[in-house]
Symmetry: C2
Subunit: 355 residues, 2 copies
């Protein structure tokens, strides 16, 4: 610890992303990346601007990408914000909509970055315990003066709330911003975007990292009432005028426009998720019903950490969280069919050798 650090830096425990090991080749099922390549149209558009134009700053207002996202989602461009991945937008949202000392509530089992943002920006947080089956107790989120952040589908469980539950939460909460983090929504959950017209305190956050197969490009977006979007713009323009580079701007735009390819790879992942879930259930696993591009599993006879380690020895990386209530579970990203076949086969071998 340095005497030059600010108090907040001394205090925070930063987020730890999934391993990106360089020692050998793994089947990477640990960071919810898409197993399929990005849209060829997006890749071509990127190559096309890898030229002289990079000497110039990108468009600070990102108008073209905003227009594309607005059209895609049936909104106005002024109802769209874009940023360097949805994490950056989540961080900006904490700065834009909550004061130090405010309270924000979220489930005890959810994306662990929410706790980090709360600490970083001195916002108190209250954890609402999920039930035994990892369901979100909707009524517990009826709170007048606290902010709310919910991942839908939730992570790492993969469980989704229906839009009617989100509506009920919004009806009870009109004094603070309600953030719905839809990073995984495209894999089978219902989006809350249509509620934006009704509720001026709803912010829906999305990303191109998962369903658009562009984790390496860093593009996220937020949708909401134009005053909320203006708040995010004010934060961005007080930190970094240009958070999206020229390559990301064009790549993201083409990826959004390539709807056909998006549907194709999304459907493949959903299909794979379903047969893998069935296969693992048959092997005795508890498989939480997932609407995401990952599954959350535990086996009655094998310790989660041990299974994680055995899989790593077999060159398969999955995610294990050393956290209360879920330390016997593994989060497994859905890869392509060949990868998941290999995964299921290895899991079967490990079970047979240990049980």
């Amino acid at each position: 610890m340095s005497k030059y650090w600010s108090n907040i830096v001394k205090k925070i425990s930063p987020y730890v992303p999934g391993e990106q090991p360089k020692d050998r080749k793994y089947i990477k099922l640990n960071t919810n990346e898409n197993p399929y390549q990005p849209s060829q149209k997006a890749l071509k558009a990127i190559s096309k601007v890898a030229n002289e134009s990079l000497r110039l700053y990108p468009d600070p207002t990102c108008d073209s990408l905003r227009n594309t996202l607005a059209e895609y989602h049936g909104l106005k461009a002024s109802e769209v914000f874009v940023g360097n991945g949805s994490d950056e937008i989540l961080a900006f949202s904490f700065m834009a909509f909550f004061n130090p000392g405010d309270t924000i509530i979220f489930p005890d089992i959810t994306y662990s970055f929410y706790e980090v943002y709360s600490s970083m920006f001195c916002v108190n947080y209250r954890l609402i315990p999920l039930d035994e089956e990892f369901n979100i107790p909707v009524e517990e989120f009826f709170t007048e003066n606290d902010g709310i952040i919910l991942a839908n589908p939730n992570a790492p469980t993969g469980k989704a709330l229906p839009i009617e539950s989100i509506r009920r939460i919004l009806e009870k909460n009109t004094n603070k911003v309600v953030i719905i983090d839809e990073a995984y929504v495209d894999f089978g959950a219902q989006t809350s975007i249509e509620l934006i017209k009704e509720f001026d305190n709803l912010l829906v956050i999305g990303t191109l990292s998962k369903s658009r197969a562009l984790a390496g490009l860093r593009v996220g977006f937020a949708l909401g009432n134009e005053q909320l979007i203006e708040g995010l713009d004010r934060v961005k323009n007080s930190i970094n005028s240009y958070t999206l580079d020229r390559l990301a701007l064009v790549g993201a735009e083409e990826a959004i426009k390539d709807h056909e390819y998006f549907c194709e790879i999304r459907d493949k992942i959903i299909n794979t998720r379903e047969w893998v879930s069935d296969k693992l259930s048959a092997l005795g696993f508890k498989v939480i019903e997932s609407k995401a591009n990952f599954i959350f599993i535990s086996h009655p006879k094998i310790n989660g950490k041990l299974l994680f380690e055995k899989l790593k020895e077999s060159n398969i990386l999955v995610r294990h969280f050393n956290s209360p209530r879920i330390d016997n579970f593994l989060r497994v990203s859905i890869g392509c069919d060949e990868e998941m076949d290999f995964f299921c086969q290895k899991v079967r071998e490990i079970i047979e050798s240990l049980c």
Copy 2:
């Protein structure tokens, strides 16, 4: 203003970048972009990774780029931080090294983002007036318990401090971090990097946007004692695990390695700056001695704002700041020779028509 905005968002006045007009084609001398194309090696490297790999997250620790920068500057990788442009790093530095209520000092005429960061992160600031010739009064920066941020060369004046002045400031200030923003240092000023070994509170910040002709790629870096770098890492990892995309990481690395091309375009810009300065002096302009890729000029007989407007009518964009003490000056980025010939010719015509 929205009732959902945080107090800070209600209060701040965000930074306004130079115009990026889309209405017609201008000679853009208003945002200090490099007139030459980026390194061909960097462009090739970017095209090469515009492929399947974009489905994967980038390396969150940016090891390869950090190593390259460390080697280039004779430091350890642990003494290097990289980020999404130097603005992001400046914002992170405010969060990492200053508490709300602390004071930071900087000149009254300097990069206007410093004031924005101060407001955004509730750090008090004290302005030290430059002298009549826009020199920085070094002794005024001898202050025990305040942070310091200095652009060297300064912007928008272009004037540089010698390293011995920075050393004197560091000798007097050991309790808080001293940030030297070297965005423009490559165009003829002395870098303070060699002082990092001596002073553990010195943070030197650089960018690839200017001398490397990569404003569109968004890459900046900070160099300093490894505890300062760890502080920046902790802030980054509490906001966004991956601020640099895969394309930016490889492009930046190749640009740094292409030293020969860097020297070539840097020298061209310096040469152009010198003859343009001479030509403008001959036309009666006061030209502040610049060590940057821009010049700061005023004419005794023409109002700065009027000259700005007349140039815009001639399809030349320069920067005019509507600020006390400098509202009669224009900041003119150094373009290629043809652009600057055209600029000088237009300026002469405007002077002749108005005086």
